[in-house]
Symmetry: none
DNA sequence: GTGGTCTAGACCACT
DNA sequence: GTGGTCTAGACCACG
């Protein structure tokens, strides 16, 4: 894992986003046990408190279950995961579309632009 | 104009982004005169100092020309504008593509997803 | 039995409260024999050590008598039970009254509120 | 203000509850400015970080608005406050009713008990 | 001067 | 050994 962290945005937010994406993209098993906060913090070269804050936020979202002294596990609610992934994808898409519109790209121009830019990858 | 401002990010940054998009998208004439900082600040319900800082940054980027006592005008360098617009569009696109990949969408799935979500608008 | 356990408070405390309420409310006969710690633990999906700790605390309170190899029984001291029940009820009531006062409910408003909310049940 | 804090439960939780009750009971003006986190922390004899955590949770509930460097203010959404107050009162009442039922008090007995205990105040 | 963030280090209850 | 909490102290961006 890279754990590339920018100091322009709160580290705990970046940790959240990074872990959330890994979970939503299916890299972890449902119900799989998480490393301890201390281990994760060491791995990410971050203070345990910072990692702790990220984990607590992920708990509130329901992605991670806290079993007190037994450590944390990934949620087993697969429909929750799928919904969140789809929801996040939609928000990402519409955010992208809105930004391009603000730059003056109509839907047709957006399509053309993506074709010319991603031709190599999408075709 | 909405001037929707979030208090999660620096105000002056949001002002810059907002004005920059309006310029790049072609809503202003080349060389057109800008409202005064005070008027803009009033319109955006923002401290004049904050708007001032935004304008100075836009000057550094070359989008806005400061004519001293004659007020500020939009640059007349159309190629600069076009380059910046294209550059920003590219960055936006690749950022979007990267985010979708992190959510586990391959190029093909991305294409399918956009078709199903934007069918109404793009067709 | 539900055995609903929150992981925000110590498990053994919740077990104590749960069992204590069952005893005080009169669901058990005086002197009745208790299930074994292991059976109770299994039933509550809890580590036997945790249930053990709860039982020991209940013994200290005098609610449960430990007869060594003969297992545990409910106390036969009916006045003890009645006193504890009344005492707990009083504390519960005054705690409730205090909380409502902190929300700005005077005694009159509290009475009105209870009437309107519990009309169906109390009338 | 007393700021009586028990060390049996998280301090930041107690701070939240304390402040929330003060707001819901109407002790503050709508839109009123809050003391700074540092001042509140000093007043409550608590570390600023602990008070900070409490304030952030109250923000998430919508009770407090954060204006960045301009400090925090009470929300001006009076209907939100009224709804939260009523909701909290209801939950408090039903929690009380449930606890009394677990002690074996039927609705009639609950009524009698309250009459005998609160006679002085309620009559 | 405000809130936000982070680190370092410590103690605690719990299983 | 786990997560939770708290303190102390520091730095930063912002307005």
């Amino acid at each position: 894992m890279p754990w590339k962290l920018s100091n322009e945005r709160p580290i705990y937010i970046q940790l959240e986003e990074f872990i959330e994406k890994r979970i939503l993209s299916g890299e972890y098993q449902l119900g799989e046990r998480f490393p301890s906060v201390r281990d994760l913090a060491t791995e990410a070269s971050v203070n345990p408190n910072t990692m702790q804050k990220a984990m607590q936020d992920l708990e509130k979202k329901g992605l991670i279950i806290n079993n007190r002294t037994l450590g944390r596990t990934i949620t087993e609610d697969s429909s929750l995961l799928e919904n969140m992934r789809l929801e996040l994808a939609k928000r990402t898409l519409f955010h992208f579309k809105k930004e391009m519109e603000e730059l003056g790209y109509s839907s047709e121009e957006l399509l053309q632009f993506m074709n010319s830019e991603l031709k190599l990858t999408l075709d």
